[in-house]
């Protein structure tokens, strides 16, 4: 791939529009680059095409003879005029010639050195331009990649937010289902009165077998004597005797927890026991229910 600047140099070179230094530097570049040499040759063909547009004209016949005569004589090189020096100073022409030779050598060396430097700068400039173009292309690629990655990241962030929302929704649904499941396991029992003096007395027990806890609410219960307490019992077939769920105050709603783990709460019962309660039912049963 030839840079635009180099193409421009080639076109200007072919048309003789580069100055001496530029032309020499370009010729050096052409010598080192076959692709550039091919481009330059094709441009020369393009330039020469302009000459084809000029109508031909016959030159004067005498010109042919003049040219043929010149090449046949071999004297086409212009002859240098010789100016004789005075005889009295025979060394002077040699001295002047020597001075000129030294000056010419020095000028040649200096010019040659300058040309080398210039060529070096031009080559460096071309290389730097090529590197700059390469870096700019890489920068453009990176910018495109960054834009692409940013777009993808944005899309992924949105996907993540949507996924989190979905997970949260599922969690809520699971929690709701768990609540519904827990409620479905709650056992509600109504305990009826066994007391003749308080036939309207009753109690409602809500029992959560998973949590092994329950709530007791009594109604129309006569107060117990000062030396007695009402005590709640749970009848589980795994145990020979009812399991105590503790004494309670009949005037308020009570939370209870049985003394032993309950696998199956067949029945609930309330008895009137001595103050502080008993390990097993000893007093009369006042309420019972399934």
């Amino acid at each position: 791939m030839i840079a635009e600047h180099t193409e421009e140099q080639a076109s200007l070179y072919v048309l003789g529009l580069l100055d001496g230094h530029e032309a020499r530097a370009f010729e050096a570049a052409v010598a080192a680059d076959p692709e550039l040499a091919a481009l330059t040759a094709s441009m020369e063909t393009g330039a020469a095409a302009l000459a084809w547009t000029v109508p031909p004209r016959d030159p004067p016949p005498a010109l042919r003879a003049r040219i043929l005569d010149q090449i046949n004589r071999g004297d086409d090189a212009p002859a240098a005029k010789v100016v004789p020096f005075p005889r009295s100073t025979p060394w002077l022409p040699w001295a002047i010639a020597a001075c000129f030779a030294v000056m010419a050598a020095w000028l040649y060396y200096d010019t040659y050195h300058l040309h080398l430097l210039l060529d070096s700068f031009i080559y460096r400039d071309r290389r730097n331009q090529a590197e700059l173009s390469h870096i700019q292309a890489q920068q453009l690629d990176l910018q495109n990649n960054l834009a692409d990655t940013t777009t993808k990241l944005s899309a992924m962030t949105q996907q993540k937010a949507a996924a989190e929302a979905a997970v949260e929704s599922l969690r809520n649904q699971v929690a709701a289902l768990q609540t519904r499941d827990t409620l479905s396991q709650i056992k509600i029992a109504t305990l009826a009165s066994m007391l003749k003096n308080a036939p309207r007395a009753m109690a409602v027990v809500a029992w959560d077998p998973t949590a092994q806890r329950g709530v007791l609410q009594t109604l129309h219960m006569p107060p117990a004597n000062a030396n007695q307490d009402y005590q709640l019992w749970i009848i589980d077939p795994d145990y020979q005797a009812p399991v105590s769920a503790g004494v309670f105050d009949p005037t308020t709603r009570s939370n209870f927890q049985p003394l032993h783990p309950i696998a199956k709460a067949d029945k609930f019962a309330v008895s009137l026991e001595k103050k502080g309660g008993s390990a097993e039912p000893q007093g009369p049963i006042v309420l019972v229910g399934e």
Binding site: G16, T45, A47, D58, L63
Partner: protein, 190 residues
């Protein structure tokens, strides 16, 4: 009844090879073949018959001495010759300018004359002129103008920019695009 034998003309590249070996007969043949088109070219550039004659002489002497430098892989013999004679004429034009003998530059636009109005030329040459005419017509006029000025007038880049009233960068870009297009269109045709 006698048989008439037609001997084909040797190719220009072969003539150049012979010239490189010092064959003056081959040189004479090349002169016969090339001098009308090259004289037309230097006349157009120099616009002065005497100067054109000198340029033509310089060019052919150059051909005599430098025929061995012709590279057939690089260009056709005609392209090679055109560029030599064009450069000789431009050098002469600039030299005249420096000596204060500037002559009016005549070429600004190529003449789309098609087949020659001058000396008789072969069918091949006529065909080439048609190819070139088509190629030049394929590039935009502003590019063609910049290239023509550069080719025929010997003006510098800045002088061309001043002549056509465009910035230097624009002139360079026109020349680059036009030359690339011409090179592309004419690839393998001349």
């Amino acid at each position: 009844m006698s048989e008439q034998t037609i001997t084909p003309e040797p190719p220009e590249a072969a003539l150049l090879q012979r010239v490189a070996r010092g064959d003056s007969l081959a040189f004479d043949q090349l002169y016969t073949r090339w001098s009308p088109m090259l004289y037309g070219l230097v006349c157009k550039i120099l616009n002065d018959p005497k100067e054109a004659e000198d340029a033509l002489q310089d060019g052919f002497i150059h051909v005599w001495h430098k025929a061995s430098s012709y590279d057939p892989g690089r260009s056709s013999p005609t392209t090679w010759a055109y560029m030599i004679f064009r450069n000789k004429a431009i050098d002469r034009l600039r030299s005249l300018d420096r000596r204060g003998r500037g002559i009016e530059r005549i070429a600004e636009e190529p003449e789309h004359t098609g087949p020659s109005a001058g000396p008789e030329e072969g069918a091949e040459t006529s065909e080439r002129r048609q190819v070139v005419k088509s190629a030049l017509e394929s590039i935009p006029p502003d590019q063609r103008e910049a290239i023509s000025l550069a080719f025929f007038s010997g003006l510098t880049q800045s002088e061309i920019a001043q002549r056509i009233g465009a910035p230097l960068g624009t002139v360079k870009a026109r020349i680059r695009r036009g030359m690339l297009k011409l090179a592309d269109v004419l690839k393998g045709k001349l």
